[in-house]
Amino acid sequence: MDRFLTLIVVGVFLLGGGVIFVTSSFGEDSVNVGIKATVPESLELSYWIRWSTGGQDPYEFGFSGDATSIDFGELEWNENLGIWLPAKYYTVFLIARTSGRPYQIKQTSTGLVSGDNNLNNSFIMDPDYEADDKYSNGVAQGDMPAGDSLGEAGLAAEGERIIYDSNSGKSRIVRVYYGISTGEPGTPGEPITGDQPAGNYSGTVAFTLTLK
């Protein structure tokens, strides 16, 4: 280095791309340049909803679609089972963004209510994690991070329920299936029988993201 001399600006060089090079450091043979970026701190829960017919994947072509609410529509009487059933079930996809901080996604629900009656013992939720779920860039999210876990299936309107518990703090796509109980052994809830009063039942489901 000491054989190099620092010279005064001696010229302006016009190179391609409209770049003007002003020589300010003749004689230097090394240049340091900083590289910078800011990743903002965030705490956000995103979601989208898909409907699908019973037994079909939420993205099964011809048997599923986007939805803006969980609307089971008019239930149909199943002669064989002797219960009321909807034609659809719903999947709510949730993504938490916490800047790497451990978190929980929870849900509460007012239940499905019509006056003094409700379907709360039949309105069920079931959290799920699929390694193949992808962002729109087509990259699968992979296995659930170590230390993370899913909440248990149960009645949606039964207090505050944990959907996903993340110790890793990593952002992942989590599914929650919402449906009406079929009474299948080993599954939560009770089916809607012929004793259920007719009516329009409605309510809300609230999702909450909290840091641990």
Binding site: R3, F4, L5, F13, L14, L15, G16, G17, G18, V19, I20, F21, V22, T23, S24, S25, F26, G27, E28, D29, S30, V31, N32, V33, G34, I35, K36, A37, T38, V39, P40, E41, S42, E44, S46, I95, R97, T98, S99, G100, Y135, S136, N137, G138, V139, G169, K170, S171
Partner: protein
Amino acid sequence: MLSRFLKATGVFLITFGMLGLAFAGDSVQKYIKAHIEPQDGLNVSIHKVDANTGIWGEELQDIDFGTLTYDPDLGIFLPDHYCVMDVGVLSNEANWSVSHTVDSFTNGTDDLNKNVVVTFVKTEKADVNNDGIIEDDETKDTKLYQLSYANSVKSISKSELSGGWLRIYYGIATGEVDQNGNKIEPADTSPVTTDKSSGDYIGKITITLTP
């Protein structure tokens, strides 16, 4: 006696001088001299380029991506621009090389070393518009290397840049794939996801000219 001697000497001196003049008219050689020191210098300029339009923007002092923005569809953080560094070499050496080394791009907790794509190209003036005129902004790039920031320690020789100059593109990885679903960015790069902690990430790039 003395005057005769002086006269004789004067005749001799005059005769000698005439002979001397006759010799000098044949050839005279004189040297012309100058000394040129070895000269090695770098000119570096950095510009931001709009990621959507490709339009060049302001000149920057650093490779500064600013505050990244979260894209909820892609689930990744992206800047609104990428950066271009032009490296001009001023050297009278027969051979030289330009090396690129980096320090970790970190916020002290995480790093973005594998989230930045570094593309080395030879840029040269060319009649891109094919109108017989080469405008100042008419250039073409020939890709030399595309690497992750983490793996971007590279030396580029004078011969590799023959007829052009070194241009280096720095961009945050997008995870983009081609029509066949193959990754088009370096295999070891990935986008910035929410797995990265928030904060200000800073690193250092060193460009060195070696004669």
